[in-house]
Amino acid sequence: LAKTTQPISMDSYEGQEVNITCSHNNIATNDYITWYQQFPSQGPRFIIQGYKTKVTNEVASLFIPADRKSSTLSLPRVSLSDTAVYYCLVGDVTNAGKSTFGDGTTLTVKP
């Protein structure tokens, strides 16, 4: 199973771009990288998923280098409402019960 490592916390200011990195050195060939956002007293919410290179949606971008040993979630122009915990999940999407969540990064956005 791919073990993941994320920074425990990050601070940012409104309007800035935030990049959160997840390390997964022993990622397997069939593994995908998925990111979730969690607000207090709520369940996590799916943000974005990718396998290689770059994926972008209306909320975020996900950058995955060629060796796939890490991935970076990029949040453009954050606001106070982006304050949350962000988790990466790495594993084989066809065997989701064998995937591993990271410990999460607490992002605090300041005015």
Binding site: Q42, A96, G104
Partner: protein, 114 residues
């Protein structure tokens, strides 16, 4: 909109009681999951089910069992609750195949065992 509902938001039980946590999803998802979340320990998978009556142990199955008799319902059972099972319990569901990582979570049940 996908909806995953859990039977209780808050639950208080006594040591030794049998506890049932229920989860229902309305999107015809094949996969269902039970996690527990504790401060500093992130999300840890207790059990996973990929079909009716099918289950797999996750990272921390000890002290728990599960039941999936219908596709939309996944139950977590604490046979004899202990204080170290005080935690936030989160249920999730997803499609099978390539959709396995797009999990939809319920609001969670905060269980306190006294």
């Amino acid at each position: 909109d996908v909806k995953v509902t859990q039977s209780s938001r808050y639950l208080v039980k006594r040591t030794g009681e049998k506890v049932f946590l229920e989860c229902v999803q309305d999107m015809d998802h094949e996969n269902m999951f039970w996690y527990r979340q504790d401060p500093g320990l992130g999300l840890r998978l207790i059990y996973f089910s990929y079909d009716v009556k099918m289950k797999e142990k996750g990272d921390i199955p000890e002290g728990y069992s599960v039941s999936r008799e219908k596709k939309e319902r996944f139950s977590l059972i604490l046979e004899s609750a202990s204080t170290n099972q005080t935690s936030m319990y989160l249920c999730a569901s997803s499609f099978g195949g390539q959709g396995g990582h797009e999990q939809y979570f319920g609001p969670g049940t905060r269980l306190t065992v006294t």
